[in-house]
């Protein structure tokens, strides 16, 4: 690591952000702002999770709502049965990870677009099943009855803890042999296999970790919302949101996934709620714009501005691999 000012700021940034968010409620934020932050933490978690598979390993999934929904329903059923919520969150993660193997075992056998399209199929199939399943209340949804008073701050800290966990896991993976293997797979599967990285098992494990984090996020959300239904948590648009966030922020980077989640959380809750009739148009155009104009997302945009205005030419690699080859390159999806 170089000792430039930018590099030092970047190293301290996560700790500063965590400290600020831990202290924030003490400043007397309104209930609405706490709710906004809570939702944003949940989204950031799913964004980071998607980025593990989609960003690091380059495997686009349109089906993360499956894990989100599985986690939400698992936690909902367990909490409703009187089991400790925190235990339930871990169970939610475990069930979602199990689900990820069911999806991944057949679809990762092949390369190319198979996995991406199969994930659309999985989410459709799972939603149809959830619609018809009696134990979850079918299409009419499931209400969670928890016999404790509602404490918003507890939810806030749970979500913050989960988001922090997701950041920690992402950073650990990014700097591990496992993470390098994933990036190698994204660059070239054959070459990765030649140097001893088994693309199949690497993808499966990345998928499982991502699924577990997304499932836990779903569980945390379900406990807060206290009411879930298949057309919310299992809906296709949930998958779309989870995919959009890291792409907006900067696919393949931890910072990008976090930024994407934060921006999406705020925009979705504050702005788009006012224009529900054009939100697909908005997200679709944004996606097209990012792909064709700024494939590195917001991180790429800031990086470009930073390089232009700073004279010290900081090594931008401190936050990990640059994302620029992911959407520009010609590697496989």
């Amino acid at each position: 690591m170089k000792g430039g000012l930018g590099a030092r700021i970047k190293l301290m940034l996560p700790w500063l952000a965590l400290a600020a968010l831990l202290l924030a409620p003490a400043l007397g934020l309104g209930a609405n702002l706490i709710r906004l932050l809570f939702i944003t933490f949940v989204w950031v978690t799913t964004s980071l999770a998607w980025n593990l598979l989609g960003g690091f390993a380059g495997q686009v999934s349109f089906g993360f709502a499956v894990f989100y929904g599985l986690g939400a329903y698992t936690a909902a059923l367990l909490i409703d049965a009187g089991i400790s919520p925190y235990l339930s969150f871990f169970a939610a993660g475990a069930v979602a990870a199990l689900g990820s193997f069911l999806v991944g075992l057949p679809t990762f056998r092949l390369r190319g677009p198979y996995f991406a399209i199969a994930t659309i199929g999985v989410s459709e199939a799972v939603r149809v099943i959830a619609d018809n399943l009696a134990i979850t209340g079918g299409a009419s949804g499931f209400r969670i009855v928890e016999k404790v008073p509602f404490r918003q701050l507890e939810h806030y800290y749970t979500a913050l803890g989960l988001a922090a966990l997701a950041v920690a896991v992402s950073l650990l993976i990014e700097h591990s042999k496992f993470g390098l293997g994933l990036v190698a797979i994204r660059h070239d599967e054959d070459a990765a296999a030649d140097v001893g990285v088994n693309p199949y098992t690497y993808k499966l494990w990345a998928h499982a970790v991502a699924g577990a984090l997304t499932g836990m996020a779903g569980g945390v959300f379900a406990r807060y919302a206290a009411f879930i239904h298949p057309h919310g948590v299992f809906a296709f648009h949930t998958s779309v949101y989870i995919l959009l966030m890291p792409v907006i922020g900067g696919i393949g980077t931890v910072l990008g996934a976090v930024l994407g989640g934060v921006i999406f959380g705020v925009v979705e809750e504050q702005l788009v709620a006012g224009f529900p009739q054009i939100h697909l148009l908005l997200y679709g155009s944004l996606l097209i714009f990012i792909i064709l104009v700024e494939p590195d997302g917001i991180v790429g945009l800031f990086g470009r501005l930073w390089r232009r205005f700073s004279k010290e030419h900081v090594d931008t690699d401190v936050t990990g691999p640059r994302p620029d080859e992911i959407l520009r390159g010609t590697g496989g999806a």
């Binding site: 092949l110 399209i117 149809v128 009739q277 097209i288 999806a333």
Partner: protein, 297 residues
């Protein structure tokens, strides 16, 4: 089950297969030449459905004629989309993340346009032909489905002939087989890609309009069919028209006869299960199985 029931189901499956084929060939040619998985196919199918709907409502053009009119109209739309968006994508010999996400974004935009223009109520096209049925002994065939089948098979047949007999078709096949060799012998990749993309979208519009005569539709119309189309092209081995026809028949047969065993609400799950089975058992699709047999013989 009596023989008559069996025959009825078989004919229903066959007729369904024709529509499935027309809906999948568009995706196949685009995938073959450009290695783009066109997720926006679903969006163009939806627009095709509304195209036939509007023509029928406003100008009283028969839905089948409307579907045939959709073909040139959507060809134009496809070339415009190619020219404005698709040609800026990085070129590649395998599907890229960027192309997948670009087409996905386009699909979202198209869907939203559908919601803005037509709202989210279900629409359907009811023509005099909708309820007419032909009886042959114990067998009854919906006239409309028969007409749609004939139109679908004719269009796929014409496509196959075009690919076999014309210079454009030869260029398309060359780019599918080996883009580098194709370019060396003088295939204009840019022009062929543009025409192919137009052709693929034209088939999406046509398929959407044909399906609209049989099913009700809303702006989210194409999604269940997108998965089916993908199952079909995987079954067919991804890059050939005859493979697609075969894949379409297999899916139609499985779907039709599975009604006997599985509740109809689980239909989407069936195509997914079939996809998984095919991926595990025959990764090259049914067509590769036939090709292997031929090579062995």
């Amino acid at each position: 089950m009596t023989w008559a029931d069996f025959l009825n189901l078989l004919i229903a499956a066959l007729l369904l297969g024709g529509i499935y084929a027309v809906m999948s060939v568009g995706m196949t040619v685009i995938y073959g030449v450009m290695k783009i998985v066109n997720l926006a196919h679903a969006g163009f199918m939806m627009l095709g459905a509304y195209f036939a709907f509007e023509l029928y409502q406003r100008f009283h053009i028969a839905p089948i004629a409307g579907a045939l009119l959709a073909f040139p109209a959507f060809f134009l739309v496809g070339t415009v989309v190619y020219w404005t968006l698709v040609r800026w994508l990085p070129k590649s010999t395998q599907p890229t993340l960027a192309s997948l996400l670009l087409m996905f974004g386009l699909w979202l935009v198209l869907q939203n346009i559908g919601y803005l223009v037509w709202g989210n109520t279900d629409r359907s096209i009811l023509s005099p032909m909708t309820f007419s049925v032909i009886h042959v002994g114990p067998i009854s065939i919906s006239t409309l489905r028969l007409v749609v089948f004939v139109a679908a098979v004719a269009c796929v047949g014409i496509l196959e002939l075009t690919l076999e007999r014309t210079w454009f078709g030869r260029s398309v096949r060359a780019l599918i087989q080996n883009p580098y060799a194709g370019k060396i012998v003088g295939v204009d990749e840019e022009r062929t890609s543009r025409l192919t993309f137009g052709l693929g979208i034209a088939f999406a519009g046509l398929a959407g309009a044909l399906l609209a005569t049989l099913y009700s539709f809303d702006p989210d119309f194409g999604r269940p069919f997108l998965l089916r189309a993908f199952v079909i092209i995987v079954l067919g081995g991804l890059e050939s028209v005859s493979g697609v026809a075969l894949g379409a028949m297999v899916l139609a047969l499985v779907e039709t006869f599975s009604i006997l065993l599985v509740p109809a609400s689980y239909q989407t799950a069936i195509s997914f299960t079939l996809l998984v089975v095919v991926l595990i058992v025959l990764p090259g699709g049914v067509a590769s199985l036939l090709a292997r047999k031929r090579r062995l013989a």
